[in-house]
């Protein structure tokens, strides 16, 4: 389950990096990519939550769940601005991407150990 979650979130990060590039170029982020990014991220976070609630393992990945949830909250805010045709703050988009990327590195480090 955790591998599926990592795969989904990796997809979200790849799509997110494309969206970040568009935002830094001041271009409209295509909505199909936005929705795919959001759907992958949400499903990944849900899988981490289910894993954390059901696993008998010592490390339940609650830390990763918190990191990705923080990224998700910022992402929802960014989406709420973008969908209303308002400027998306670049620094916040970079922060959102950085937290997501850090989360992937964090969870991979723990899984591989």
């Amino acid at each position: 389950m955790i591998i599926a979650a990592i795969t989904l979130i990796t997809f979200a990060v790849i799509l997110g990096s494309y969206l970040l590039k568009r935002i830094l170029q001041k271009k409209h982020p295509p909505k199909a990519i936005v929705f795919a990014h959001g759907a992958c991220a949400v499903l990944g976070i849900i899988l981490i939550l289910i894993y954390a609630l059901t696993t008998d393992e010592h490390h339940k990945h609650w830390d990763s769940f918190v990191i990705f949830s923080i990224a998700a909250i910022v992402g929802i805010y960014l989406f709420s601005r973008d969908i209303r045709h308002k400027n998306v703050p670049k620094w916040l988009a970079i922060l959102h991407g950085s937290v997501g990327l850090f989360g992937i590195v964090w969870i991979l480090t723990h899984v591989l150990h």
Partner: protein, 500 residues
């Protein structure tokens, strides 16, 4: 070009644009039947009102309607009765009857030349498929005190299986009525035409930004058919367009009345309009979601072909199309929005002329602190999840589907040369989608294809030469200027590189 018969036959209000800052008690955005009737009623109460109309008074959706006034509703009163209750359906009928009576009173009080005429409303079935529905409609209307007659024939040139007739409904020229009423407003109400509102700064006093001046107002009424800006309400309003034409007949009788077919998609509504130049037969049909028309279809041509099957048409003099917003639970949303002291009146479906006046009566009472017996059933902030669920899910999945069409490489053309004269296409330029139009004289103009309301990609409407947003119904001129819908701002301009 399309032009409605109502607009062509109505006199202009000739109000000037707003050029200096003003402060009023109530600012009304939109000078259609809802805005002008509300302004009239509020001004009668001594309230200072300003009406800000982006084009000309009565020239928008009001001029695109059928000009029919009736107690019934397009999705049938018995559906409202089944979805809500007997009392709600009764209040809908009462409020609509009162609105028609008010229009008649205003027409005679101010001698407004708008061809107002009491006419029967006729609902018929040609195939017999909808006989049960007609029976139920008859029983419901009788229960609400209307006199209903069974009919087996009409003055239409085809036979019917069954039908009903209700006397004392009405027809008029809606643009002429609104224009006439606008000329009879009290001095405490001013109208500004060609004054689009680009932004509303919400606060203790709302500030409305127009191109040349600002309006400060304690209360704002968005009489814009659908509220301007982003509101949760937009997820419960489903924008549709339908087509109309007015034809002169070479021979044969013009039907007198409001004729509704229970099952026809090609002529669901027929009526006659008499002017000094003679009579016109008006037909309406083929509705589809805004921005989602069948690109291979010529709706006006099909409408004309269908009319010629039954009538000896001499010429089609006018053709136009109009927008309507279907509400999720079947009732309009009238009253204060989720923003304090900003009022809306929307979701009228195809019954907008009568509902526009119902809105005016309710808004007058809400803004003057009076009780209104209908306000609760139409409340804009109502939450009806069970009654709205099915259309809400269906329509919002449709909106999601439109958003999902926006992916890299999904443009209709790669080069400007692919856009022929009179056409509009989405062209991908520098990884961006541009709405590119080539006029009949060969000139290109371009704007971003991203709707300024909620970021959907607009589609070209070849019947009317406009850019239409398939998500929430905003419409733009070929150069990107706003025509109607919830978008405040025009499409972002783009400079054409002819070599692309």
């Amino acid at each position: 070009m399309t032009e409605s018969i109502w607009k062509a036959k109505a006199s202009n209000t000739k109000a000037t644009p707003l050029t200096k800052d003003i402060e009023v008690e109530v600012a009304i955005v939109g000078g259609g039947i809802t805005g002008i009737t509300t302004a009239y009623l509020l001004a009668e109460e001594g309230i200072q009102v300003a009406v800000l109309e982006s084009m000309s008074v009565g020239g928008g959706t009001t001029a695109g309607s059928t000009g029919n006034l009736y107690t019934m509703v397009d999705n049938r009163l018995h559906h409202i009765q089944a979805k809500f209750d007997d009392n709600t359906a009764r209040k809908v009928a009462e409020s609509r009857t009162t609105a028609v009576d008010l229009i008649e009173d205003l027409v005679f009080r101010h001698e407004i030349k708008c061809s107002f005429k009491r006419q029967p409303w006729i609902l018929y079935s040609e195939t017999g498929e909808e006989e049960e529905m007609i029976k139920t409609t008859k029983e419901t209307l009788k229960r609400f005190g209307l006199e209903v007659q069974d009919i087996t024939s009409t003055s239409l040139p085809f036979s019917i299986k069954s039908g009903i007739r209700v006397e004392n409904q009405a027809q008029f020229n809606p643009a002429a009525f609104v224009s006439g009423l606008a000329q009879n407003l009290k001095n405490n109400c001013r109208i500004y035409e060609n004054t689009p509102v680009h932004q509303i700064e919400k606060g203790a006093t709302h500030i409305l930004h127009t191109p040349n001046a600002k309006v400060k107002a304690a209360k704002v009424i968005l009489a814009t058919h659908t509220p301007k800006g982003v509101y949760g309400l937009h997820t419960t309003l489903f924008p549709h367009r339908e087509y109309a034409l007015a034809a002169r007949l070479r021979s044969g009788d013009y039907p007198e009345g409001i004729f509704w077919s229970a099952e026809s998609k090609t002529h669901p509504s027929l009526r006659t309009y008499e002017t000094e130049e003679g009579k016109f037969l008006i037909t309406v049909g083929y509705h589809h979601k805004v921005g989602q028309e069948d690109k291979d279809k010529d709706y006006f041509e099909d409408l004309e072909k269908n009319l010629r099957k039954y009538y000896d048409v001499e010429a089609v003099a006018y053709r136009w199309s109009a927008q309507h917003y279907k509400p999720a639970d079947g009732l309009p949303y009238i009253g204060e929005s989720t923003d304090d002291r900003i009022y809306v009146a929307t979701g009228f479906s195809t019954d907008g002329l009568t509902y526009g006046v119902v809105s005016a009566l309710i808004l007058r009472d809400l803004l003057t602190g009076r009780d209104n017996e209908w306000a609760e059933i139409y409340k804009a902030k109502r939450f009806t999840p069970l009654k709205s669920a099915k259309p809400f899910l269906k329509e919002n999945l449709n909106v999601l589907g439109e958003y999902l069409k926006d992916y890299p490489g999904s443009a209709e053309a790669e080069k400007f040369s692919e856009v022929k004269k009179g056409e509009g296409k989405i062209v991908e330029v520098k990884d961006e989608k541009w709405a590119v139009h080539r006029s009949e004289d060969g000139n290109l103009c371009a704007a971003s294809a991203v709707c300024t309301h909620m970021d959907c990609i607009v589609n070209w409407n070849n019947e009317e030469k406009t850019w239409d947003c398939p998500c929430h119904g905003s419409r733009f001129k070929p150069n990107g200027e706003v025509i109607e819908g919830p978008a405040f701002s025009p499409l972002d301009k783009r400079n054409i590189n002819p070599e692309k």
